[in-house]
C-alpha cells in the first residue's frame, strides 16, 4: 500500500512540475521545473522495470537538457513577457529620419 501511495504522490508531483514549468513567467525557474519532471520520470522508469532507461533519462534529462536550456536563456531573455521594442524603435527613427 505504501508503494501505491508513493506512485500516486510521484504522479501528482510530475503533473504539478509540468504545469509549473508551463505557467512560470521566469524562464529559469521553468527550466528547473522541467528538471524536476525528468527526475520524477526516471523514478517512474525504475518502478516500471526499465533501469537502463531510468539511468539515461536521469543523465540526459536532468543534466544535459537543463544545461543547454540555461545556455539559451543566457543568450536570450529570462523574462517571458519582455517585449524588446528596440529594433522597432530603431526602424521607426531610421525611417523618420
Amino acid at each position: 500500500m505504501a508503494i501505491l501511495i508513493f506512485l500516486i504522490v510521484m504522479a501528482i508531483i510530475l503533473i504539478a512540475a509540468a504545469i509549473y514549468s508551463i505557467m512560470q513567467k521566469d524562464l529559469l525557474f521553468a527550466v528547473l521545473g522541467t528538471g524536476v519532471v525528468s527526475l520524477v520520470l526516471s523514478i517512474f522508469f525504475y518502478m516500471l522495470q526499465a533501469p537502463d532507461v531510468a539511468i539515461t533519462e536521469a543523465a540526459i534529462g536532468i543534466a544535459l537538457t537543463t544545461i543547454i536550456f540555461i545556455i539559451t536563456i543566457r543568450n536570450t531573455t529570462r523574462d517571458e513577457n519582455k517585449y524588446n521594442d528596440d529594433h522597432i524603435n530603431k526602424f521607426k527613427t531610421k525611417k523618420d529620419a
Partner: protein
C-alpha cells in the same frame, strides 16, 4: 519491491490509471504549451515535456504486471517468461537521445533568431509576412 507484485495484482486498475493518466496529461500539457505560448524557449519546453509523456506511455505499454527487468543474470537464465517487454525500452532509450538532439537543434535556432531579430516572441518575428 517484493510486495509490489502482489500489490499490483490487487490494485492494478489504480496503478494503470495513474501511469497512463500521467503520460496522457504530460502530452496534453506539452501540446498546450506548443500551441498557446508566445515565447520560443517556452515552446521548446513544451516539446520537451511532450517527449517525456510519450516516453512514459511507451514504457507503460511494454510493462507486464509483476515482470522483472529484461536482464539475463547468472542463476536466472529462464527469466524470459517473466520479463517485461524489452523492445519499447530499447525504442525509448533511442528516443531520449534523439529528443535531446532535437532540443539542442531547436534551441540553437532560437539563439540564432534572437541574435538576428533581437526578440524571442513569435508575435514579433513577422519579417516573412507580406
Amino acid at each position: 519491491m517484493m510486495d509490489f507484485q502482489t500489490l499490483f495484482e490487487q490494485n492494478i486498475e489504480i496503478i494503470t490509471i495513474a501511469v497512463y493518466g500521467t503520460a496522457i496529461a504530460l502530452i496534453v500539457i506539452g501540446l498546450y504549451a506548443v500551441l498557446m505560448k508566445k515565447h520560443l524557449v517556452k515552446i521548446v519546453i513544451g516539446l520537451s515535456i511532450m517527449d517525456a509523456g510519450i516516453h512514459l506511455l511507451f514504457v507503460a505499454v511494454g510493462y507486464i504486471s509483476g515482470g522483472t527487468a529484461p536482464i539475463f543474470s547468472p542463476g536466472s537464465e529462464n527469466a524470459a517468461t517473466t520479463m517485461v517487454d524489452p523492445v519499447p525500452q530499447a525504442l525509448v532509450l533511442t528516443a531520449i537521445v534523439i529528443g535531446f538532439a532535437v532540443t539542442a537543434l531547436a534551441l540553437s535556432l532560437v539563439i540564432r533568431l534572437y541574435k538576428h531579430h533581437h526578440t524571442a516572441n513569435i508575435d514579433q518575428l513577422n519579417s516573412l509576412k507580406w
